[in-house]
């Protein structure tokens, strides 16, 4: 399969993830959609790494996975803190940053 096919799949997944971030209101699902977008970027990185026959792109993808894991832990910590305060788990209603 030519590299362009992988890039098209990557673009589709990225757009689905972006749509999810825009449409969904549960912060948990928004985090999942962010994961989708990061994975789409990973697929593009690895496709280009294959295209050039150079594995630097794969290292980049690994680092992106590390950053995604960090983002998940902090994001889930925030959601747990929101839940502890009995606030609604809905991004439309969470409008204030004050504690």
């Amino acid at each position: 399969m030519s590299i362009a096919w992988y890039l098209v799949v990557s673009a589709l997944i990225f757009c689905i993830g972006a749509g999810g971030v825009l449409v969904r209101r549960n912060p948990l699902v928004i985090l999942l959609c962010l994961e989708l977008m990061l994975n789409a970027a990973n697929l593009a990185l690895i496709a280009f790494s294959r295209m050039h026959g150079n594995d630097d792109g794969q290292i980049f993808a690994l680092i992106v996975m590390v950053v995604a894991a960090c983002e998940v832990t902090v994001g889930l910590g925030l959601i747990v803190a929101i839940f502890r305060r009995r606030l609604p788990i809905d991004v439309d209603q969470l409008r204030e940053l004050q504690g």
């Binding site: 993830g17 549960n26 699902v29 690895i46 295209m51 794969q58 290292i59 910590g77």
Partner: protein, 211 residues
Amino acid sequence: MSAIVFFIAAIGAIAGAIGVVALRNPFYSVLALVGHLLSLAALFLLLRAEFVAAAQVVVYAGAVMVLYLFVVSYIGGGSLQQLTPGGAQLRGVAAAAVLALFAELAIAILGSGLQAVDSDGAPYVTGFGTPAQIGEALLTKFLFPFEVASLLLLVAAVGAVVLARRRAGTTLDDAERDAAHYITPRSLFSGTMAEAVGTVRTPEETVEAQR
């Protein structure tokens, strides 16, 4: 053969992605993301990225998704309120924005000046993408990013613990609390956070406060 595997994996990945966005229950969204990640790992294997595919399955589909499942089951589904009238219009705007984004990306791919994009990629060299080669690159050429990544993970772990720890007086329905509200294995007045905030007082302090 590789074309068949590619189409199965690609359809699986896209179906998983749609499932994440479309399913109402966050629990099923997480399961759809697991399917998506496994399909994506198959695509990585087709692209000769063995190590990244293995890391994807073990770290992502394994560990990170278990973390998600814990939080989803801790929080529960929760009933969301109805969409406000403006919300339906915003949904249309979101669809238009996503379509525009996809059109832009498609133009970028189709109109790309890169000639190799239409090829199967560079000729395969033995050892490309194996753990040995990735490990060597990480510990020589990319040592600094590797170390910074470990520091980032440490900071994120500490940050998550600080964010999610139990704090006294942080719930909105805080009535005046007495010591009996706190179910704690520690004996009272032994330096808990509730005492530090001042919601629990020793008898002596109560007498002091009343004076």
